[in-house]
């Protein structure tokens, strides 16, 4: 007795409708994410672009002025000065974070006593918000009641307490140290996942072939971590280009406006000078620069592996 009928070949029509149903289900699954992107990213982005075409004061009626805001920012020395400072900071702090995070990732990758404790301790500053961390460091850096300067003075390292916020160099490097302390743990975790993704057999095979530790690092570890390094660098660069809290809270843009970042200047123009349209135009330019940097980074770091 025939227990069941053999499966019938699908007709093109039925296959098409099943495909459409599958696509519909797929669309439904991504719909919440699409909705979030539309509401919280694309809509504000379009609104910001629309604002950038207006003289849009915080108080009063906006007036359409076309591309005048963009023309103005092309000759705005303060904006380009802030952009140059942001670029300088981004390069320095990205290198510094990577230089600290990679050795830390190598250090905590190996199983040894207290590895978990090290990982936790190094990651701990990441969970503190940038605002809170900046407040903490502004106290630590205070020349009278802080920690660093009075301690250095009492230990005889300086002739008198040094005001770390008095000069550009001491302010800048203090903030770089703070940012490295705050974010190296996050980069360490990203790089650690990359390191743990490299098969131990590959390393073992290289060792059996007589490759030295240095050769294994440069010929195996680094090339196989391109993707992870790309991710860490892109996140670090994007975060640094958008730096604001630490320079606002710790240095207030000082001394003498020498540490005003691009976002700080946009904030100042938008909410202190009440020029929302101009602030929006600068934000659009900053976004374009950030997207370009990220695309270039992705291309540079992905091509060899993808090839």
């Amino acid at each position: 007795m025939i227990q069941g009928t053999p499966p019938q070949p699908h007709t093109p029509r039925r296959r098409g409708s099943r495909l459409r149903r599958k696509q519909l289900v797929g669309l439904l699954f991504v719909a919440p994410a699409v909705l979030l992107v539309l509401v919280f990213f694309l809509a504000p982005l379009c609104m910001a672009f629309w604002m950038s075409l207006h003289n849009w004061p915080l108080l009063g009626r906006p007036r359409f002025i076309g591309l005048a805001n963009y023309e103005a920012l092309m000759v705005d020395q303060r904006f380009w000065g802030a952009m140059r400072f942001t670029a300088y900071y981004t390069v320095i702090v990205t290198i510094a974070i990577f230089a600290v995070a990679f050795p830390l990732a190598l250090f905590v990758e190996r199983a040894r006593p207290l590895t978990k404790l090290y990982r936790t301790a190094i990651f701990l500053p990441v969970v503190v918000g940038f605002g809170s961390a900046s407040l903490l460091w502004s106290w630590l850096m205070n020349v009278d009641v802080g920690l660093f300067s009075p301690l250095a003075y009492r230990l005889g390292l300086t002739e008198k307490p040094v005001n770390l916020l008095a000069t550009f160099d001491t302010t800048f490097w203090s903030i770089v140290v703070m940012v490295v302390w705050k974010t190296a743990g996050f980069n360490m975790i990203i790089l650690l996942t990359g390191l743990q993704g490299i098969s131990s057999e590959v390393q073992e095979a290289a060792r059996m072939d007589g490759a030295s530790g240095r050769q294994r690092f440069f010929r195996i570890t680094l090339p196989l971590m391109r993707r992870t390094i790309a991710l860490a660098l892109i996140l670090s660069v994007a975060g640094s280009v958008l730096a604001f809290d630490q320079f606002y809270i710790i240095a207030d843009g000082g001394p003498q406006n020498s540490t005003v970042t691009a976002v700080y200047w946009i904030f100042s123009q938008s909410f202190v000078s009440f020029r929302l349209g101009y602030g929006a135009a600068m934000s659009m330019v900053l976004l374009a620069i950030l997207v370009t940097i990220s695309v270039v980074q992705l291309r540079l770091l992905r091509t060899p592996e993808g090839a």
Partner: protein, 414 residues
């Protein structure tokens, strides 16, 4: 039918008039958090004795302008606002405020209202802001340290030479005692306390109705030289250089500072919270004498288009009465009516008398871009101050700041 129609119309008219009266009786008002010590009590006293009721909301200082702008755009701005007086021109220029000229000029004591507040509240010849609360900048000196330094503890400085001399003698006490304190990285604080030194010496910061900046003047260079000298001789604590205003009051309250230019608000605060600090109050002097003060505080403004001027008049009449002025003075604001100021503070610490005198001569620079050119942490005023107090090129800094300030004024609104 005609009768029914008339009845309906009459009922509608009654409803409208009752509605109007109801609307007039309940007004919303915002005030910034720095007025928290006196505004709630003042409004409570008004509500207790009047049919018109005011619903007061305290808004954090730093959020006031943005919050109001958003509310105004959404049509939900409060009826009344106690606004930092320096913002009045910007608000008036953007068409947000009701013209109060006739109402204010109708007060019999109009001539006695704070001129500085009315000056900042006047835009294009019309009055949009009238005095609400006041603070005037003065010089405090520490009597205990003066005595310890061999100085007359009852005599504050009356010119710059005395400031330098007294600061030096107090500084000579040694330890962590310093002669002078100011917040070196705070634009707003130094507008309040440094500008009067220039004014008292005959200089100006803004002229032609706020349309021209005049920073590179002999008076400004002299005032810069005074502060540079105090810093160079070590009379000012190192932390002052980078103080964004966090220690504007706290510096003097430590009881280790000889003199500090500050606001009259400090008098009540010291008496109440730092009773051990023995201090005197003097005027901010000019180079060879004279006196000047920055009149700060709030202006009372009304959102444009609100049909509530009778209720506004009622409230202002209460605020400007002896009862209202005395209540303000007791709770931390200086009186804003000069003709009854002395009477309003007579039951208070006698040092308030100097502050009320300072208020009478107080000035406030008026400009729609005040925030941009003076208060902003990235603005030309703050940068210039830090450079001329602690940098190397005073003349270059003054020229650069004047140019930047003028450029902001010229391009404002374009």
């Amino acid at each position: 039918m005609k009768g029914l129609k008339a009845a309906v119309l009459a009922l509608a008219a009654t409803c409208a008039s009752v509605g109007g009266a109801m609307a007039q009786q309940k007004l919303t008002m915002w005030s910034r958090s720095s007025s928290e010590a006196f505004m709630p009590a003042l409004v409570k006293a008004f509500n207790a004795s009047h049919k018109t009721q005011i619903d007061l909301q305290i808004v954090p200082n730093t959020e006031m302008v943005q919050k109001y702008a958003i509310s105004a755009a959404g049509g939900s701005a409060p009826d009344l606002l106690s606004l930092d007086l320096v913002y009045t021109p910007a608000f008036a220029a953007s068409g947000q405020l009701e013209d109060l000229t006739d109402l204010v000029k109708g007060f019999p004591f109009y001539e006695s209202l704070s001129k500085a507040h009315l000056g900042a509240g006047t835009y294009d010849g019309r009055i949009y802001g009238t005095p609400m609360s006041a603070d005037a900048s003065v010089m405090l000196w520490n009597k205990r340290l003066f005595k310890q330094a061999g100085l007359d503890p009852e005599k504050g400085p009356t010119n710059w030479a005395e400031i330098e001399e007294y600061a030096g003698k107090v500084n000579a006490i040694g330890g962590d005692i310093r002669g002078f304190y100011f917040s070196g990285a705070c634009g707003g604080c130094n507008a309040f306390t440094f500008m009067p030194l220039v004014w008292a010496s005959g200089g100006e910061i803004l002229v032609d109705g706020g349309k021209r900046a005049t920073l590179n003047t002999p008076q400004m260079r002299d005032a810069a030289a005074l502060y540079r000298g105090l810093v160079a001789k070590g009379y000012v604590p190192e932390s002052a250089r980078t103080d964004p205003g966090a220690n504007f009051f706290g510096g003097f309250a430590t009881d280790r500072i000889g003199m500090s230019p500050i606001g009259a608000f400090a008098i009540g605060n010291l008496v109440k919270n730092y009773p051990k600090v023995e201090f005197g109050v003097a005027f901010l002097p000019g180079k060879t004498g004279g006196k000047a003060s920055f009149a700060g505080g709030d202006n009372f403004v009304v959102t444009a288009g609100r049909k509530n001027l009778p209720a506004v008049r009622e409230f202002l009449t209460f605020v400007y009465s002896l009862e209202g002025q005395t209540m303000l003075a007791k709770l931390g604001s200086l009186p804003t009516r000069s003709d009854i100021a002395a009477e309003a503070v007579k039951s208070l610490d006698e040092r308030y008398l100097v502050a009320t005198e300072a208020m009478k001569i107080g000035r406030t620079p008026s400009s729609p871009v005040y925030n941009d050119i003076i208060n902003s942490s990235t603005g030309p005023w703050k940068q210039m101050l830090n450079e001329i107090f602690f940098g190397n090129d005073v003349e270059g800094s003054l020229i650069k700041a004047e140019k930047t300030m003028q450029s902001i004024i010229d391009t404002s609104g374009k």
